[in-house]
């Protein structure tokens, strides 16, 4: 199976000590490692206001992970762990590789088009080129 990219965000209770959060992150990392995945990035966004109440909390400690995985099972396991972890009040996993693929495609296509336009504009030094240049600026 090809490699997939995921975003994983989880929210802890605001009164959770930092060490506890680190512990959760490390268990997730080992769990991911065991199942052929990898945690690429860990970002702690810190305590933020929640847009609505979650488990009677108005604030939450956000942690963001960027994952690479080759097995869907891995996500299942990580979500199970987050579900049983006491300080975690909410989590969300989003699969992103397809959107990234789309984004790359669009960006590439635009770059190609821009290059073609530039090529077309440069050899013609007549009024046409100046007109297009004026339109672009």
């Amino acid at each position: 199976m090809e490699e997939r990219q995921y975003d994983l965000i989880f929210i802890c209770r605001p009164d959770t000590p930092e060490t506890e959060v680190d512990k959760i992150v490390s268990t997730l990392e080992t769990a991911a490692g065991e199942r052929g995945g990898k945690v690429e990035k860990v970002e702690k966004w810190g305590t933020r206001k929640l847009a609505y109440r979650v488990r009677k909390q108005r604030e939450g400690y956000y942690v963001y992970l960027l994952l690479h995985s080759t097995q869907g099972e891995m996500i299942k396991e990580l979500e199970r762990r987050l579900k049983v972890a006491d300080p975690v009040i909410k989590y969300l996993t989003v699969r992103l590789d397809e959107e990234m693929k789309r984004q790359r495609k669009l960006t590439e296509r635009r770059d190609r088009r821009a290059a073609r336009r530039r090529r077309k504009a440069t050899p013609a030094t007549s009024t046409e080129a100046t007109a297009t240049g004026a339109a672009a600026s």
Partner: protein, 103 residues
């Protein structure tokens, strides 16, 4: 039937009725006010991916009550509105944006 009445309208001296010609109206009537054409903000910035994690950016596309603003208000193109919708819904799921404001 409807066409007949509309074509008769101006001849009978009712310019107001002629001006109200649905979406094609502004071109016909002369007394139309002109609104600046809204351009899709994402197209202008050449955005290929709308990140659901940028909550403060998405905040500009929801109403005070938490509803998603329609395209006719923001001028977003249909493709970007679709991406925006997905991003806002994701952000709602992780409590970065409200489903509906409380109180």
């Amino acid at each position: 039937m409807a066409d007949e009445t509309r074509s008769q309208g101006p001849s009978e001296g009712r310019p107001a009725a002629a001006g109200r010609g649905g979406p094609g109206g502004p071109r016909r009537g002369k007394r139309q006010y002109f609104r600046k054409k809204k351009v899709c903000r994402f197209c202008a910035d050449r955005v290929d991916f709308i990140d659901y994690k940028k909550a403060d950016m998405l905040q500009g596309f929801i109403q005070e009550r938490g509803k998603i603003l329609p395209r006719r208000m923001t001028g977003t193109c249909s493709r970007h509105q679709r991406w925006l919708m997905v991003a806002i819904k994701r952000a709602r799921n992780i409590a970065m944006l409200p489903f509906a404001t409380e109180f």
